[in-house]
């Protein structure tokens, strides 16, 4: 199944909607077929010969007849419409909030053209930030706080949750839940500028144990995983203005948090797979791969590029 297709979905925030969508789709197709049949048989049905046919004859002598079509057609349509309307209201109510209290709140901030993901917790020591990839525990509702740092974006994981816009100056709340483990793709669904096409994110549904392990790992600071090197100095000089790696002193917030970068599946909001060669290509010339992206091309020597790539490759 295509990663964005939603004829089949995987969670209670969206499954009733999918059934409603199929229901309305079947009604819609039936209407088209019925009208097409009526239209064609109306055009081609056999008709009695005209009396006194001349070039100026009409099919009727008076302006009457046929009105019962309007009564019948409109009457039947209205009944179907009322039925669909009630079904819609029921489904809207069912998916507007989760059936049980969410286990987790994730705050997603959209920016041109990537996603910052912040895991909230009453315990400040357990708050952490990651980017472009949301991990959730399977089978549990997750509350989403959706905000934007610049223009309007829209959060959409077709197989888990319908769209919710992210509008500067307001916090929109939504929720999702995955009923099976797996990776679900999403993509920004509101035109947000040149790279609207390359603003994807992933939702990874883990088992409860895997999720807890992932969460604990994300909370660790980097120096524990990556030893200092020349590559680290390049990072601090060139990249730290915009990017944070927790545990290092420069902590820019304009770009994605890169702590544990290597645990992520993709780079540049879903544009590239997270492989060393792709990472090096991205660092050396982001504008060639994602024209207009906010990350400027870095004037690095070959040695510096290799060093920083190698160092980033240790950020598990």
């Amino acid at each position: 199944m295509n990663p964005m297709a939603y004829q089949r979905t995987f969670g209670p925030a969206i499954d009733p909607v999918t059934r409603l969508g199929w229901g309305l789709g079947i009604v819609a197709l039936s209407v088209v077929v019925i009208i097409a049949v009526l239209l064609l048989s109306g055009i081609f049905r056999r008709r009695a010969a005209l009396h006194g046919a001349g070039s100026r004859s009409l099919a009727v002598r008076s302006d009457s007849g046929g009105v019962s079509w309007i009564y019948m057609g409109t009457g039947i349509s209205s009944i179907v419409l009322i039925f669909c309307m009630v079904w819609t209201m029921i489904v809207t109510a069912a998916v507007s909030r989760p059936p049980e209290l969410p286990a987790l709140t994730v705050q997603v901030t959209a920016s041109q053209w990537w996603w910052s993901v912040r895991y909230l917790s009453p315990d400040p020591a357990r708050i952490f930030i990651t980017a472009n990839e949301i991990h959730i525990p399977v089978g549990q509702p997750v509350r989403l706080e959706l905000i934007s740092s610049d223009v309007i974006h829209s959060f959409w994981i077709p197989q888990l949750a319908g769209k919710m816009d992210m509008i500067p100056g307001q916090t929109n709340v939504s929720w999702l839940q995955a009923d099976q483990t797996g990776v679900f793709r999403g993509q920004c669904a509101a035109f947000c500028g040149a790279q609207h096409a390359h603003m994807a994110l992933l939702v990874v549904a883990d088992s409860a144990r895997d999720f807890a392990a992932w969460q604990d790992h994300q909370l660790e600071e980097t120096p524990e995983t990556a030893p200092a090197s020349a590559g680290q100095r390049v990072f601090e000089q060139h990249c730290g203005v915009c990017h944070t790696i927790r545990g290092l002193s420069p902590s820019g917030i304009r770009g994605p948090d890169l702590t544990h970068l290597m645990t992520r599946r993709s780079l540049a909001a879903g544009l590239l797979p997270n492989r060393p060669g792709d990472l090096a290509a991205w660092i050396s010339n982001p504008q060639a791969l994602k024209p207009g992206a906010r990350m400027p091309a870095q004037l690095l020597t070959g040695e510096e590029l290799a060093g920083v790539t190698q160092w980033l490759n240790q950020l598990y």
Binding site: A5, A59, D63, V67, W69, G73, S78, I152, P168, Q170
Partner: protein
């Protein structure tokens, strides 16, 4: 009658000057109507070329034919062009040309205003394209959401051109709409009571009233946006207490009624012309006329269905969802009226009939996909995907372009005196119908496969490649159908069969004039006794007969008769203004004012404002010929 002494004097009174002078100064509704249609068609072709460029880019995954910025400008200008510079203007063209002929009058109520509405439309269209050659065309989508359209994220002239161009175009729409409303209320032939006017008239007047209520919202929104960008206000700036959603409300409060404004007159074309090819009157005239009005009234209560995903409270969404379901009902009335007309009639398979019958099917497909998006949670999935692109093209091409093409073939003989080639007409229908469905039906599937709108490229692994290729091929087939249609127009202009006055044996008043009609339309103002004046002798609808050849002559200067709004009782003889350069001059002054605002030229604005004032004073100066000064 034609050829009599009085018709010679009428001709002398009503005919414009020859050459360029006459062309620039004419206020003849027929000239203005033709211009509207030709100009709108040129914009249709430009918008079509933009669409084809978009389809080349999307035909395969990861293409780099267009840069992201070029793509943004192309899809924005495609929407702006088709919605604002083609869809309404082409219908204004039909209505301008046809209204006085349908209503038995010699011109629109305000002929000079009519000329002005055309000139401002033309200049606004040129204005909106002025930055295109510089690579700085509007690029925020036709919906132009803030804050993307604000100065911080879009510092170039792109959005200023759009904002000012839309306010300028709004002037054209407003004066044009006022003219239609007053024309309906004031200048129908005696006896053309409100329940006898053709459905096209109902459609256009409904659209015009809708425009008068809707356009202020969008003009205000664009003015506020321009002030945010250039005068330091903060209407839409959330950091300073403004509200981005305010833009969406104002835009869609206008945008949704506008959608009905660009389909209701086209539905009127079908309601009037389809019955001619079914050889019977329209079934349920009263129901169809009332459903036209009902659609527009309800159309003002559904704008939030463009904003279902914006985080508004569920309760308000449910209200707008219900209203969006209910609006299907008046459309159902019209659909069943057309089907009943075909069923109980005797179809004649001419090319216009094909376009109208095809239209009914496309209307229904576009309608039911719209019905699906009325359901709030389903819309959370469907909105801003290709499903919505499929829906809106079925609606706008299906309900606007197909009736327009059928309508052109139908009225071509009246306008030019020649019939269009029937074989080419049928071929152009089948090619464009096939191409259209090949291009737009697979978009429903692309939407369900999760392809978002307004992305300039996509990765192969997402599985959107094959449907996109089919869509692109369909787009080129559709374009070929349109080209063949235009070829037919040019061929038939020179070589078409002579038409005579009433080649289709139609029922309405315009077919009682010569083809093309004389400058004064009717030698005498007809007196109307029924809804189908030219069919009275072949129907058994009572003894009353309309009087086409005998009536008020009114040949003492430019005159037509003013009648009462409902029953069309003759009321007064209206003095009509003759040809003048003032509409052109006033339109130029207004346009220069907007150009000066765009260029931040203070003195240019003052000068243009003063010139506009001067032109207005000259326009309103009392004239003896108009009876504004006591003799």
């Amino acid at each position: 009658m034609e050829g009599s002494p009085s018709s010679a004097s009428l001709r002398k009174t009503w005919e414009g000057k020859p050459g360029l002078a006459g062309w620039l100064s004419t206020v003849d509704h027929k000239e203005i109507g033709k211009r509207y249609i030709v100009t709108a068609f040129i914009f249709l072709l430009i918008g079509g070329l933009e669409a084809l460029a978009i389809r080349l880019q999307l035909a395969r995954p990861n293409q780099t034919l267009l840069t992201p910025e070029q793509y943004s400008q192309l899809f924005t200008m495609h929407g702006v062009t088709m919605i604002f510079l083609y869809a309404l203007p082409v219908l204004s063209g039909f209505s301008n040309y046809l209204w006085p002929l349908l209503l038995g009058s010699r011109d629109m109520a305000f002929p000079r205003l009519n000329a002005m509405s055309y000139w401002v439309f033309l200049f606004a269209g040129v204005f909106l394209y002025s930055s295109f050659p510089l690579g700085k065309a509007p690029d925020g989508g036709w919906f132009n959401y803030v804050p993307y359209a604000s100065l911080a994220y879009n510092p170039g002239p792109n959005i200023d051109v759009y904002a000012l161009g839309m306010v300028l175009l709004g002037i054209s729409t407003t004066v044009g709409s006022i003219n239609f409303v007053v024309t309906l209320a004031r200048t129908r032939a005696p006896g053309m009571s409100i329940n006898r006017v053709p459905v096209l008239v109902w459609g256009t007047v409904t659209a015009s009233v809708g425009n008068l209520l809707a356009v202020p919202a969008v003009s205000l929104a664009f003015l506020m946006l321009w002030m945010d960008r250039q005068a330091g206000t903060h209407f839409f700036d959330s950091a300073a207490g403004g509200q981005p959603l305010l833009w969406q409300h104002l835009f869609w409060m206008f945008g949704h009624p506008w959608v009905y404004a660009i389909v209701l007159p086209a539905m009127g074309i079908v309601s009037d012309a389809l019955p001619v090819f079914c050889r019977r009157p329209l079934v349920g005239y009263t129901a169809v006329a009332l459903s036209t009005v009902t659609t527009m009234v309800l159309g003002f209560g559904v704008w939030v269905h463009h904003m279902f995903a914006s985080g508004l409270p569920i309760l308000s969404l449910s209200f707008f969802s219900a209203a969006s379901f209910v609006i299907v009902i008046p459309s159902a009335v019209a659909v069943f009226a057309w089907i009943a007309t075909i069923w109980t009639g005797r179809p004649v398979f001419n090319a216009p009939f094909l376009f109208f019958a095809g239209f009914v099917l496309l209307f229904v497909i576009g309608g039911v996909s719209g019905f699906m998006t009325a359901a709030v949670p389903v819309d959370w999935q469907l909105t801003r995907t290709y499903f919505v692109i499929a829906h809106l093209h079925y609606v706008l091409i299906g309900i606007n372009v197909f009736p327009v093409l059928g309508g052109i073939i139908y009225w071509f003989p009246k306008v030019t005196g020649r019939l269009m080639n029937e074989t080419l007409g049928k071929w152009s229908f089948w090619i464009s119908f096939t191409g259209f469905n090949t291009a737009f039906f697979p978009m429903h599937i692309l939407g369900i496969l999760g392809m978002p709108r307004r992305i300039y490229t996509y990765a192969d692994r997402l599985g959107w490649g094959t449907p996109n290729l089919v869509v692109s091929i369909g787009a080129f087939i559709f374009a070929a159908g349109i080209l063949l249609f235009l070829f037919n127009v040019f061929l038939s202009l020179g070589r078409g069969k002579a038409a005579g006055d009433n080649p289709w044996d139609a029922s309405s008043l315009e077919w009682s004039t010569s083809s093309p009609p004389p400058p004064y339309n009717f030698a005498v103002i007809p007196i109307v006794a029924s809804r189908y004046p030219l069919w009275e002798d072949i129907m058994d609808e009572g003894p009353e007969r309309s009087s086409i050849g005998r009536g008020l002559l009114l040949d003492k200067g430019r005159e037509t008769v003013g009648t009462s709004p409902l029953d069309a009782e003759p009321d007064v003889i209206l003095k009509m203004p003759g040809d003048t350069y003032l509409p052109l001059l006033l339109s130029l002054a207004i346009t220069v004012l907007f150009v000066s605002m765009l260029l931040h030229s203070r003195w240019g604005s003052y000068a243009a404002g003063f010139a506009g004032l001067l032109a207005t004073v000259c326009w309103l100066w009392p004239q003896r010929a108009l009876g504004q000064i006591d003799r």
